[in-house]
Amino acid sequence: MEIKAWTYVMVGLTFSVYLTIAWLSRVKDTKGFYVAGGGVPALANGMATAADWMSAASFISMAGIISFQGYTGAVYLMGWTGGYVLLALLLAPYLRKFGKYTVPDFVGDRYYSSTARLVALVCAIFVSLTYVAGQMRGVGIVFSRFLEVDVNTGVIIGMVIVFIYAGLGGMKGITYTQVAQYCVLIVAFLIPAVAISVKITGHVIPQIGFGSSIISGPDAGKYLLDTLNQIGTDLGFREYTSAFGPGNKSMLDVFAMTMSLMVGTAGLPHVIIRFYTVPSVRAARLSAGYALLFIAILYTTAPAVASFARYNMVNTINDKTYTEAPSWFNNWETTGLIAWLDKNNDGIIQYRAGAAFVGKPEFTGAQGVLGQRTISNAPTDSANELYVDRDIMVLANPEIAGLPAWVIALVAAGGLAAALSTASGLMLVIASSISHDLYYRLINRNASEKSRLALGRVMIGVAVCVAGYFGINPPGFVAQVVALAFGLGASSFFPILVLGIFWKRATREGAIAGMIAGIGFTMMYIIQTKFLGMGWWFMGISPEGIGFIGMLLNFAMVIGVSAVTPAPPQEIQDMVETVRFPRGAGMAVDH
């Protein structure tokens, strides 16, 4: 069977599994809808959290980014895993003991303030919306590349599927679908990784193969990473494993970005609410461990894939004539993710440091003398002739390694699983922020169970449509606002959640001031540097790393303002006291 037929089989099969799970886990009450009834086993919650957390970016883009950045890619590896240690030690057990439905629930109750609740719910919606737009786009792109359907049709198919299982089963439906999605995406990621590791280094475990020597070809016997460093130096790139220095991020920036991503992870509402779904405080601690274990399987494999892919790519393409380039090169050139501009007209592909031409390739529709797709972009001075989209590193991996068609189809299903699982978790946050935090907690405290559940379902529908709209009409800033989502998570929620648990004296005024100052500064810096063209004026820190400074500002404001405002009422201080001890966690309550 050819690739396309296999892809239909794989995607069809996985989608019918998701829909079956949705039907089996449909819910009838708000507790089921918002926190899956509070009875999800730790292991299942760990898998669901892992799928929830790992988006299309983790599955498709991350290995590619590392492949091009070398050492600096560690920012994402450490940043997107280290946050779980903070979650497990500082937040998850206590928020579980507190036992409500959403993050604004905790903020509103702990800081005895509707204003704080409102600020928190606006943050939660904003963070989740920026994220979800990118996910739906990812769904559309996977559909269009592998099944040759229109991107927009792909987005709509994805919307319908998510609406069915999230609307029917709420958090419960999402949780058990995510368990299945985790299994699909991890298998899809590991099979090509193992096959390529065996091919290049002879080791079955990619994490070991990555530090071993190459078994065949001109570099046989040399360590893979040494070879990559050599290739880097020869072609004018930085050494793959070396840190900082010219052309690299500064130590301070690497530090700030890693911290921003870690703290941002621990402050993202769709991750935090997963810990409300387990039956006990003990299970919350344990499921954070499982979640990180399941995430680590992909996150330690990704840098191995990155190095194999870099080696393979340079070796099979560089200084080869266009006519002898492997078939995957032409396949991906067709999709526009690879472009070749033969600057010196020698018919040979030269891959060097620097961009080959200005901007993304704009194909003229005509073919060059050798059959390559010609482009109209202005060439640069660089000797480089090759444009390679970083997403190729994972998507084309099975083809580069010469794996069978069903593996390629599996990667497509894995990419879809990663994007859909994250999208559904985010949509639940958006829906619950409006139907629970805004409508039930702030507008109508007498709403019946039935009407609240109905509203929750309607809001899922609305969230799906909004996400779909952004998926079909992606605003130009989608890629850029991902930094904003992490910056916001880091600079708004994390400090006030941690202080709310560990410092009884933290007051309402302190929390509101902290959230506003943290978000305000972070947003201002990102807007200035990303959209208004200002330089990185704060100690040369990139907009991706500024959430770290916003977080420090938030901490300082909460502590400073709390010190000069009246202490929280006694019952709040008592509540903080009870949150610290596991006994009596019981079920999540909605009063």
Binding site: I66, Y71, G73, A74, L77, M78, T81, G82, Y84, V85, L86, A88, L89, L90, P93, Q207, F210, G211, S212, S213, Y223, L224, L225, D226, T241, S242, A243, F244, M251, V254, F255, T258, M259, S280, V281, R282, R285, L286, A288, G289, L292, L293, A296, Y299, T300, P303, F502, E577, R580, F581, P582, R583, G584, A585
Partner: protein, 81 residues
């Protein structure tokens, strides 16, 4: 009084574990990555290995260690569920 003791122990575990968390990632993976890179572990420069592999393994272990320590502590102070 007992509860104060329980909380103090818990905070103590957290400080130790978070120090390890910071040392492997921010220490070995970022601040001292260059000197560590002069040491080789198989094909890996050590600092690079910490940044792209080692720190993640340690993170996983830290969470499970905290889980086990707290389970024991909860029992000892009779606050378990």
């Amino acid at each position: 009084m007992d509860m104060k003791e329980y909380w103090k122990k818990n905070v103590g575990y957290m400080i130790v574990l978070l120090s390890i968390w910071a040392i492997v990632s921010y220490g070995c993976g970022i601040l001292f990555v260059e000197p560590l890179n002069t040491i080789k572990m198989g094909g890996f420069p050590l600092g690079f290995w910490f940044a792209q592999q080692g720190s993640i393994y340690v993170f996983v272990v830290l969470i499970f260690v905290y889980y086990l320590l707290m389970q024991r502590l909860d029992r000892k102070f009779d606050v378990h569920e």
